[in-house]
Symmetry: C2
Subunit: 347 residues, 2 copies
Amino acid sequence: MPIEVLERAQSELTDWRGSGMSVMEVSHRGKDFVACAADAETRLRRVMGISDDYAVLFIQGGATGQFAAVPMNLTLPGDRISLVNTGQWSTKAKKEAAALGLDVQVVADEAASRYTTTPGPGSFAAAEGSQYLHYTPNETIGGVEFGYVPDVGVPLVADASSTILSRPIDVDRFGLIYAGTQKNMGPAGMAVVIVRRDLIGRARPGTPSIFDYAKMADSDSMLNTPPTFSIYLLGLILDWVENLGGLEAMGTVNKDKSDALYQFIDRSPFYSNPVAPTARSWMNVTFLLARPELDKQFVTEAADAGLANLAGHRSVGGMRASIYNAMPIEGVLTLIDFMDDFAARHG
Amino acid sequence: MPIEVLERAQSELTDWRGSGMSVMEVSHRGKDFVACAADAETRLRRVMGISDDYAVLFIQGGATGQFAAVPMNLTLPGDRISLVNTGQWSTKAKKEAAALGLDVQVVADEAASRYTTTPGPGSFAAAEGSQYLHYTPNETIGGVEFGYVPDVGVPLVADASSTILSRPIDVDRFGLIYAGTQKNMGPAGMAVVIVRRDLIGRARPGTPSIFDYAKMADSDSMLNTPPTFSIYLLGLILDWVENLGGLEAMGTVNKDKSDALYQFIDRSPFYSNPVAPTARSWMNVTFLLARPELDKQFVTEAADAGLANLAGHRSVGGMRASIYNAMPIEGVLTLIDFMDDFAARHG
């Protein structure tokens, strides 16, 4: 999270807006918190360009909760959906949809490249009769990201957890966008769901109320006590994004950050990145050391230098630099300096 | 929340345990956070006396999420359950269970008293063939609380959201206890589920993974990214409870707090409490003014005096003092002084 946001949250933690209470303690039905939640929604609509054709919902349970909630709201058992498989997150979404009785047609599958590619524009379409097509614009583990929005002829559903707010997005191209908040929108514990209103109101019988988009939309996401602290922090983060110039500016910075890192890696004989250039993520930059036996030492020395969490996911090994919005360009340059020095000593 | 806990969270908000990061930012799979979550569970087990026969789960979605999750984990459609209806929360639990296809037998219903009573010990039992009996030990709106644990012959399921940690509890009497965290366990956004292990592993097909007790138990509640800040704060609150002497001490303080308020109300000609003496809540003390036309003025003047959130629920009117664990006896005495003064001016 941006340090400016954390410091503001810290300064207000025991006395929010002169209430004498923490924002975690005020009534979620009181006018101050209702205004706080409305402000977060308004800012999100402004920053992302979300029209009134879409509802914006704040739902507990993160993206994994939405793996179930999306099928429960948009399909009946036996329905068909299409899915693009670009890595572990797509695979998890697929598994949960199948467990809910769906016929999941994988219309593009990047397993053969070991998830180092994304399918190109026009290379896939929804299978006939699909209720929607699900894809994962950014996969954190492989470090692959779509550089474009697919055109698929059915409502497009995106798990945007690890790319939301990182660059401009044309919301009108989507039927539904959901995102766990813990990458670019605050702490873990909530998902933001942006759903076209005509898709709402068809939840299966037995859908848990807190996952029912119609009930959540009708109650302004306050069917039950909402995660007030998460909503408050989302508002602060959106304020920070707006002050930096919105998604255009975020996109420029994020491209610069990832470009710097990829260029360094590509020029280095010691480091390599296995991802196809068109599929490289702006958020998760993976790289391999020429001498994998030094992986542990690299992680340890990096941590000592204040560069945390660089080990790649255990399923793929190697390294991964997650450079979400809160990471300034200076952090990336520090990482490059460290990598350069490490390579000089061990290359 | 206790001010001591808030102040500690504030002091650590930008640098948790020397990590240079917020606890909201560290990896939930890293050893520091894994230890933090394990510590919260260990403390909860110690404070509540939870044996290893029970799993302790941290699940997003609050108690309302559990209204669905409990039936999904313990029943199949068409199954029968029994339920005691003591107010709005019981009614909501009933509605969600019925929507999940259950035959819900209401074996005690306090609607006739306008929810100012609880059924006495031995006055009800589970209907034949019930998978479990659900009740709400404390109802926040009516301000009624069970002073005893029912003996019902089938697994007893309790929504303990508004009473957990307020007094000693004999966990072994229960099949399952769940509680939203936002009363006595921290901010909104999480439920704690304490479930006897032999009841785990029977989730219906199509149960969302994040609600599946077996999957959550197998993954130490880290099937997906857990609400890290909520778990961290729960640990701090449990530390606070232990330092004060545990649940015995909490129970003594809470009884003293509510006794003081009820005694003042009972002795006053201006205030009254409609709840049967044996059913009076230690957490939510409701009261009526002799002149209801002064309700608004009472709330406004109280707020000006620093006494917030005293309006009763809109469904019942009147006043309600929610005196959860974090409210010290001094706060109750201040309220009594204010009430006394208000009555003197308007009685």
